[in-house]
């Protein structure tokens, strides 16, 4: 018995230690080095570092750009959560519950952007938004809506909203598939029972589908929030570079600019620490508000 317990622990250690080592190297070490560098004034391109205590954090709280970047991040989070979840749910329901013959084809079409690199998506949409050569303005002109044409990514007012569309376009497919999986697991007997009780399709959606796929919706929302707070940097960097005049900077792109353009690596690390904290807090708050008893019929 004792021997068996020992063997069990040895086996567990054998499985966990390599994972822990990898986790320490690729997650914990960068995390703690980021925290460490946030206490230094350092250009990031030389050996010279100067310990400056919490000066970077004081600068962070006095930096006028930071509140703007946080607002931009949460604007993108809200727009993406709303846009992706509504559309993904709509298409998931349509492709699973309506008898559409071409459903497999649509699944592939919607999922296609997910196999494309974000860089490619960014470049593609930059061309689409090009004020003089792009599809958007040309399409509007073709429809006689010339007054609606504008320099989408070149306008301080329109650049940030313009980033939402590619992000949603690129995200729908994955979440649609996740939700389709959830919907497929809902027993048909619930719908039959609801139908017998006189529920129409809309009521079936609200009372049966939605509550039963809630776990998938919750995970999807959390995933969108985390990836947006940490990853919207790429699309911003490619499509606008944070401009015009900081109007699309998110925390990630501002971190990049500080660390690698302005050579304030220590300050960049401080922004990185802030992104981590904000992501954690946001996820915890969301978890709290989205907690809900598991629905079983």
């Amino acid at each position: 018995m004792v021997q068996s317990k020992k063997q069990k622990y040895l086996f567990l250690a054998f499985c966990l230690i390599p994972t822990f080592i990898m986790f320490s190297i690729f997650t914990l070490y960068p995390l703690f080095s980021g925290l460490y560098y946030s206490f230094f004034e350092w250009s990031g391109s030389s050996e010279n570092k100067e310990f400056i205590g919490i000066s970077n954090y004081i600068q962070l709280f006095n930096d006028e750009i930071i509140p703007m970047t946080i607002l931009h991040d949460y604007f993108l989070v809200a727009a993406k959560v709303l846009g992706i979840m509504v559309l993904a749910l709509f298409f998931a329901v349509a492709l699973t519950q309506l008898k559409i013959k071409e459903a497999p084809f649509y699944r592939i079409v919607f999922f296609f952007p997910n196999i494309m690199s974000v860089v490619v998506i960014g470049i593609l949409w930059t061309f689409i938004y090009n004020p003089s050569l792009g599809l958007v303005n040309s399409g509007l002109q073709f429809m006689g809506l010339e007054d609606w044409t504008r320099p989408w990514l070149g306008s301080e007012k329109w650049a940030l909203p313009s980033l939402v569309l590619p992000s949603i376009w690129a995200g729908i497919g994955l979440f649609m598939l996740m939700l389709m999986g959830g919907i497929a697991n809902v027993s048909k007997s619930y719908y039959e029972a609801a139908e017998i009780d006189g529920a129409n399709e809309w009521q079936q959606f609200w009372k049966v589908t939605l509550p039963l796929v809630w776990p998938q919706i919750k995970i999807s929302i959390l995933y969108i929030v985390i990836t947006t707070l940490n990853g919207s940097f790429i699309i911003v960097q490619i499509m606008t570079g944070g401009g015009p005049n900081n109007s699309t900077h998110v925390m990630g792109s501002y971190l990049y600019e500080q660390a690698f353009v302005q050579y304030n690596f220590g300050y960049g690390a401080t922004i990185g620490v802030m992104i981590l904290i904000l992501s954690l807090v946001t996820v915890l708050i969301l978890q709290f508000f989205m907690r809900r008893e598991r629905v079983e019929y």
Partner: protein, 429 residues
Amino acid sequence: MLILGVGCSSEEEASSDGDNSEIANDGKVNGELEIQYFVGGYGDSWWKEVIADFKEKYPDVTITEHAGPNINEEMRSRWVSGDPPDVVYIDGAGSSETQMVEDGQLMNLTDWVKDVEVDGTPITESFIVDPAKYDGEIYSLPLVFDTWGTWYDETWFEAEGYEVPTDFESFMSTMGDIQEGEDIAPFVTTGQHPYYFLRGMLYPAFGAAGGDQLLEDVITGKEGAWTSEPVLEVMKKVEQMQKEGYIDKGFGALNHTQSQMNFLLHKNAFIPVGFWLPNEMEKDKPEDFTYGFIPSPMQDAGEPFAVVPDLRPLAIAEEADNPEAAKAFVDFVFTKEYATLFSEHTGAIMNINGVDLSQNENVPDYLIEANAMINDPEQVQIYQKPHPMSAELETPISNALVSLMLGNITAEEFTQQAEEAAAEYRNSK
């Protein structure tokens, strides 16, 4: 023969140091030599040729090249860990001469450079533009004389009868004609990198308005420089261009390649870019397009064009493993022969004066014309900035500039914002 001469000079110089273990007793430079160079619009064919010649001259030197469009990022960890390459050509994204000097990464060349010669003439007398100085000290030698100016399509202008501008007044007038004739915004630049406009249009304008002193003051963020009268006058010109609708409204979103494509496709007529433009866009140029180049016409009528060269320097790492081979290489590169080859390979100019390109069939016409113009003080006045502007100051100024060019703020508001950015920059130093 010229190379040989320079090579000998290098050997003599190296030997005279006396404390150099890399120099063998026979006076030959040897050992390993690492060279880092950015490959952008100018390509790398010139580098390949120079390095091959250097190897031939110094067979005991083994050269390792670190080159590419992302080389500055790729080599960052080497610089951070104190193991840099010996020679570095500072150009491209992710490189900053000012930052490298501030970080103590570059060797002080002040004393050494006094004895270097170009084809028998002291190098200090051979530069078109002198090296940047930091508190009077030289840390790099300006290799590429990149002149930002304004480009247009000569063929198109001739066919449509548009006048090539000679000053700001005629610039506005031509842009008005083009706007009317073509129904386009005549001027484009990249809003994603607003420093193109800053370096390509504003620096020459500041030079013309206030000379080297004003340039130095705005670049170093001297108190009151950005709100001074000449700067405001220049910014009023920019405001005027915006108000007339001459600046492409979509410029804010364009990166440098897109703005250059817009220009080649006649969506716009003028673009301020450096000499790399024709080389970089070689494959995209429409057949009937002919590059025309003028220094940016921001000066008042009756004054010569102003040019503010943007120099791309060659430097030696402070912690170079083989400083003597590095010095030999730097010495080797600066000759009239390689300056001519540079123009042939890249369509740009090396920072060595007295290079005659006028009869060279391998050099593009625009370069021959530009070279002649730049060397004629009656046509063009060259102004020199002390060193590149720090990114810490350039970024906020560039952001405010975009706002002005989009018409969201006035020239007065711009100067105020720039002055505030300068104050913040001074306080951070």
